[in-house]
């Protein structure tokens, strides 16, 4: 298990590195354009197509989306989908809820998982081996197995239907701890020894010497947590029935039954939920690619 995850993380990182180089191919001499363009261009278009449809439909007049056949490009820009979305639904509140969930998840992951990852990688204490073994073993447990008891537990704690229910499961994860542990194992011990000799205690060593080195791993962990918490559907679906505590994903999924035919509104909602991640992806593509393999691992 350990080996798989390490392999996957390394894979992501190496593709991410490679990608930067690939974006700026050197043109030593003029060559015939590769025949691969004929393969890649249509495929790339096909992959972009659903998003293109989403953006175009979100600014189309409602009538054109249910015309027969509907035009792919709208005849004019019409923002009434967004207008109705913001006026008639609680989408802004859901957006705020999602931002709160994801922000707490990221901050908490960065703090708790790096502390634990460092502890398991570098500190010696009784129970360490059992602790990390149990944590790695839990990665194998499918979330479906945990849904029912976790729901009952949260109901008893009075967390159900409150935003807290969506937040608590995201505060830390076995993957986060494991990822950070693997990273801290890879930094040379001399860094900490130097600090110890200078009389720093283990907290000072961690915060001032080790953590600044961990920026790439922290970036991966942050993106991993952002992607999974922002897009999570199953858990909010189970734990939250109250409109006020809906996340964006839950609100969108609920439109399925309440706004079925209002395509311009559905697509506008889709844009609100997806655009932040698309922009993030475009700005931090290298880190995203390094994270992708991990998110896939989450299952």
């Amino acid at each position: 298990m350990t080996a798989i995850i390490t392999t996957a993380t390394d894979a992501g990182a190496s593709v991410a590195r490679e990608q930067l180089g690939a974006q700026h191919p050197r043109h030593g001499r003029r060559r015939r354009p590769s025949a691969w363009h004929l393969v890649l261009a249509p495929i790339a278009l096909l992959f972009v197509l659903p998003f293109a449809q989403m953006f175009l439909a979100s600014v189309s007049p409602a009538k054109e989306l249910i015309a027969f056949p509907p035009p792919f490009f709208p005849s004019r820009l019409d923002f009434s989908g967004y207008a109705t979305l913001f006026a008639e639904t609680d989408v802004l509140r859901w957006l705020a809820n999602t931002v709160i969930v994801s922000a707490s998840a990221i901050v908490s992951h960065l703090v708790l998982c790096s502390l634990a990852g460092y502890g398991f990688a570098r500190l010696r204490f009784r129970g360490r081996t059992v602790g990390i073994f149990l944590i790695i073993a839990t990665i194998m447990i499918p979330t479906q197995l945990l849904m029912i008891p976790t729901y009952i537990l949260f109901a008893r704690l009075g967390l159900i239907d409150a935003l807290g229910a969506a937040i608590v499961p995201w505060l830390a994860s076995a993957f986060g701890i494991f990822l950070m542990r693997q990273f801290f194992l890879s930094i040379p011990a001399e860094v900490e020894e130097a600090g110890r000799i200078d009389g720093a205690n283990r907290w000072q060593v961690f915060f001032h010497l080790v953590l600044p080195l961990a920026k790439p791993a922290l970036a991966t962990l942050a993106i991993f947590t952002l992607l999974s918490s922002w897009n999570d559907l199953v858990w909010p679906l189970i734990a939250i029935n109250n409109d006020d505590a809906f996340t964006l994903q839950l609100g969108l999924a609920n439109f399925h039954s309440t706004r079925r035919t209002q395509w311009e509104l559905l697509m506008a909602g889709n844009v609100v939920a997806t655009l932040p991640l698309i922009l993030f992806f475009l700005f931090a593509q290298k880190q995203f690619v390094a994270t992708m393999t991990l998110s896939g691992l989450k299952g």
């Binding site: 392999t7 180089g21 974006q23 659903p50 998003f51 204490f125 499918p142 479906q144 189970i238």
Partner: protein, 314 residues
């Protein structure tokens, strides 16, 4: 550090105060260590090991969450064995797995080979193929419903334009699962592609060069040199995509809700319905444990098989 502590212990062996000091030092180490790891560890184990054990106890009971639970032993599991709906759900899940896993492994391999070259616009192509990875199940669900809508969808529009008969897609029992698999592929192709790309970049250039000198064309050198090197990734992606497929829920919930005529009702969808619609917590937990057991079997089976074959994926 352990040895250090032992040395301290023996060094101060005859001197009680020193020994006490070393014991205190050991306690301080324990306390210091646990201060670092305790918050995350308690959260993770508290929300996984504890519920996993609880789920097993639940699976031995009949309980709706309100009335007092009734202990039924293996009753839920016995019921499951003869539950036709469960078998139907397992069949639908199997169909999705058979459609999705080969597609996603082959697509990953093909896309990685296509993208593994330094040509103009390659960054653009990669971005286009990778960006759907950020789309959520809810967003993908809405997009699928529109793209494959029999009346307004782009899919049928294309068919109409080229003069082929239009299809029912998500509203057709025979096609709904295929559409779900295609849209999963759209969102997840990046995962297998990135893994294969990394593996391709690790194939030793000297080997490819040697094959070329021996007169192999690119097709031959790919299959005889690169492909064997990719075996661990193939095993890994196949197993991982299989586990993911067995757990399909989100995209079904956001597109067909199990329909039409239950054709897309998967095991996890069935589990969710039993537990959170009919409030059969015990029965739902039994379904979850069977699913878990099956996942473990698949994993162990593939690992043993690939070890025998000498593919070092794990």
């Amino acid at each position: 550090m352990v040895r250090e502590r032992a040395e301290r212990d023996t060094a101060g062996g005859t001197l009680p105060p020193a020994r006490r000091r070393s014991r205190i030092a050991a306690l301080r180490d324990d306390l210091g260590g646990w201060l670092f790891v305790a918050p995350a560890t308690l959260l993770v184990l508290g929300l996984s090991v504890f519920p996993a054990v609880w789920a097993f106890l639940l699976s031995l009971q009949d309980w709706d969450g309100f009335s007092p639970p009734e202990f039924v032993g293996g009753g839920n599991y016995a019921e499951l064995v003869s539950d036709a709906d469960f078998y139907a759900a397992a069949q639908h899940t199997g169909l999705y797995t058979v459609l999705f896993v080969p597609m996603s492994v082959l697509a990953g391999l093909f896309l990685a080979v296509a993208l593994n070259r330094k040509i103009r616009f390659i960054g653009l192509y990669r971005t286009a193929i990778f960006v759907p990875f950020v789309a959520s199940a809810a967003a993908t669900g809405i997009l699928s419903t529109y793209l494959f809508s029999p009346q307004f969808g782009l899919a049928n529009n294309v068919l109409r334009t080229v003069g082929l008969p239009t299809q029912g897609w998500l509203e057709d029992e025979g096609q709904a699962m295929l559409v779900i698999a295609l849209m999963s592929l759209w969102g997840q192709a990046a995962f297998t592609t990135v893994l294969y790309l990394a593996a391709l970049q690790d194939v030793p250039q000297e080997l490819l060069e040697a094959a070329r000198l021996d007169g192999a064309n690119r097709w031959q050198s790919f299959w005889s040199v690169s492909w064997p090197q990719l075996a661990p990734v193939t095993v890994f992606t196949a197993i991982w995509q299989t586990i993911g497929s067995i757990q399909l829920f989100d995209l079904v919930y956001t597109t067909t809700r199990g329909g039409p005529l239950d054709a897309t009702k998967t095991i996890v969808y069935y589990l969710w319905e039993k537990a959170f619609r009919s409030l059969e917590f015990g029965y739902g937990s039994a379904v979850a444990y069977v699913l878990f057991g099956f996942t473990l079997l698949v994993t162990i089976g593939v690992v043993i098989y690939s070890r025998r074959k000498g593919m070092e994926a794990f």
